[in-house]
Symmetry: C2
Subunit: 102 residues, 2 copies
Amino acid sequence: MAAMKHPEASEFRLEKVLHALSDGVRLGIVRQLAAEGEASCGALDGGRPKSSVSHHFRVLREAGLVRTTTFGVTHMNSLRRAELDARFPGLLAAVLAAEGQG
Amino acid sequence: MAAMKHPEASEFRLEKVLHALSDGVRLGIVRQLAAEGEASCGALDGGRPKSSVSHHFRVLREAGLVRTTTFGVTHMNSLRRAELDARFPGLLAAVLAAEGQG
DNA sequence: GCCTTAGTTCCATCAATCTCGAACTATTGG
DNA sequence: CCAATAGTTCGAGATTGATGGAACTAAGGC
């Protein structure tokens, strides 16, 4: 089951969100999730070892950016766009709009 | 003179900007600058030692968030709002709008 | 039951970052 | 020229964060 720890929207902290997004690997993951809607961890690993990818997903989860649900043996991840936008209006949109510019 | 190194708007990097904003001290500085227009380093030190404050201003400068100009013996800092908004539309506004929520 | 798959957790290592004191630099004032 | 002011730069210590290997866990398939 999806017994992973996800913060509630009221617990989101701006600094944590910004820190989660300030890493290239995680930013890439967030962009791909934004483009594809949802994906498994493995689909976004970019050739990195599992433990690294898992670490990054954890940071994203704990910041409130990503929700992970267990689906059989794979873990599906998706952006918590609505909740994020309710708490920090326009923030994620601005980050995603900066796409391609580094 | 203001011989400090400031990146041009075309050199701004999203990750660097987000990292600069992901620290509580710097976020506080940015918010105060947004509220007051401009201020000297010392006016925003919050009781911290000079070297710490100077470090944070350097991070902000190098990310492109702040422009520092020397004015006699004091250094005046201001947000590079227009340039930032041109490069990352809505980003700074979203961060500042999240004010008071942590 | 046993093996595979998909991740997580644990651990160690290494690189960045934050903090702060001390020394240095530039500008103004006496 | 000497002192004071406002920051910067340097250097050390402590914390945080990234990376990746190895062992562990949960769910399905044979």
